[in-house]
Subunit: 232 residues, 2 copies
C-alpha cells in the first residue's frame, strides 16, 4: 500500500541465509529492511501531509523500529524527505528507461506514450503528489539532489525520435519540441492524480471512477494526435 515506486529495486533482502535452526523469523537486525520500511512509510506520510505536516514520531510508529533509526539512517527529517523523493524519482526514471516504442508505428507509439504515462501515474500516485509538494516548496530538495539529472532523463530522447518518425510518416505536422510534447502529456496525467479532491469538491465529478479514467486515458491520446497532426 505505502509501497515505494520501483522499477527493479532489490527490496527486503530476499535471499539472506536465515539463522541456522531455531525460529523461521528472518533476522532481528536487518539494516536493509529497516531502512526500506522507514522509506516506504515516509513516502506515504510525506505525500499525505507534506514535509512540514508529516510527523517524525508518526512515521516511526508505523514501522517496527524507532524514531532513532530515522536519524541513524537519514540524519534528519529533511534527509528522510530527500531520500523519499529520490526513491520515487528513481521509479519514474526506471519506467522511462523500460519504455520501448520502436516496434510501433509513429501514431500508435505516440498514443502508447501518453497511455502508458497515464497508467504509470495512476498506479504510482505518490510520484505526482510528492512532485506537487516539491513545487509548492520551490523544489529546493529536488534541486539539491537532482543536480544534473536531466542529463539522464531518457524521455526527451524518446519523444524526439518519435517526432522525427512521425514527421516522416506524415502524422506529425505541427512544429513542436520534445519538451512541449512532454509537458502536454504530463500536465494532463498529473492533473488526473493530483486534482481528484478539488474536482470532486467543486464539480461533484469523480476522476477515480473506472469509466472516467478509461475515457480520460483515451482523451489524452486523441488530443495529442490531433494536435500534432494539425498546424504546419
Amino acid at each position: 500500500m505505502a509501497e515505494a515506486a520501483q522499477g527493479a529495486a532489490p527490496r527486503t533482502s530476499g535471499s539472506v541465509p536465515r539463522a541456522s535452526g531455531s525460529s523461521p523469523r528472518a533476522r532481528v537486525r536487518d539494516a536493509e529492511r529497516t531502512r526500506g520500511e522507514l522509506l516506504a512509510v515516509a513516502i506515504d506520510e510525506f505525500t499525505r501531509h507534506g514535509l512540514a505536516g508529516a510527523r517524525v514520531d508518526e512515521i516511526a510508529a508505523r514501522t517496527r523500529t524507532t524514531k532513532r533509526m530515522i536519524y541513524y539512517y537519514f540524519g534528519s527529517k529533511e534527509g528522510l524527505y530527500t531520500a523519499a523523493l529520490e526513491e520515487v524519482y528513481a521509479g519514474i526514471r526506471a519506467y522511462e528507461r523500460s519504455l520501448d516504442l520502436t516496434g510501433l508505428e509513429p501514431a500508435a507509439a505516440l498514443r502508447e506514450l501518453a497511455g502508458s504515462s497515464f497508467d504509470y501515474h495512476v498506479a504510482h500516485p505518490e510520484l505526482a503528489r510528492l512532485v506537487g509538494q516539491e513545487n509548492l516548496m520551490g523544489a529546493v530538495y529536488l534541486h539539491g539532489s537532482e543536480r544534473q539529472a536531466h542529463l539522464n532523463r531518457p524521455i526527451l530522447a524518446i519523444i524526439t525520435d518519435l517526432l522525427e518518425r512521425g514527421r516522416a510518416a506524415g502524422v506529425v505536422r505541427r512544429p513542436v519540441s520534445a519538451i512541449e510534447v512532454h509537458l502536454f502529456i504530463s500536465s494532463w496525467v498529473l492533473f488526473q492524480v493530483v486534482n481528484v479532491s478539488t474536482i470532486r469538491a467543486t464539480f461533484g465529478y469523480d476522476m477515480t471512477d473506472d469509466a472516467v479514467r478509461a475515457r480520460h486515458r483515451e482523451l489524452i491520446g486523441d488530443a495529442l494526435l490531433d494536435w500534432l497532426g494539425g498546424g504546419g
Copy 2:
C-alpha cells in the same frame, strides 16, 4: 504583491470620514483594513508553506497588527486558512462571471476561453497554489466551505453553450462534455503555474519566461481546437 485575488472587493475602506482636523492619518482602528491585511498576508504564507508549514506568528509579524487579532477575526489558524481559500475562490468565480464570449465566433471564443483562463492563472498564481495545497490535504476545507458551490460556477454553462455553437458551425465534431473541456484547459493552465519549480529543476526549462509563456498560451488554444475539431 501578496494581494488577494478579487473581482470587485471593497478593499481598505476608501471613503471613511477621517477624524475631524489634526493629522491626515486615516484611522488607528479600522476593522476592515486589519482583517484585509491579515487575509492578504495569510494567502501569501499559506500558498508558500502550506497549512501546516505556515506560522501564525510569521503572518502576524508581516502585518501591522498582532497575532491575537487572527484569533479575534478568524478564530483559529484553520479559520484563517478557510477564509483565505474562500477569498481566492471568490476571485475566480468573479472572473468566470465576467466572461462574455457571445460576441465571438465559436472557434475564436474557444481560443479566447483558453487564453483568458491562462492569463488569469498566470496573473493570480495564489489560486493554483492554494488549490494544490487543498488537493494534497484531500480538499477537506474546500469541502466544508463550498458545499453546493458547483451550482453557481458559471464556467460549465459557458462551455456548454460554446460547444453547441461550435457544433452548429462545424468547428466542433468530437463528442465531448463541458467538464472534459474544462479539465482539458485547467490541467494545462494549472500546470503552468504550479509546476514551474520542478520543471526547471529536472529539465532546466523556464516556464516563467515571457516567450515560453506566450507560446504555451498559443499551444493550449491550438490543441483545444484541433482536439474538438477531430473525431466525430
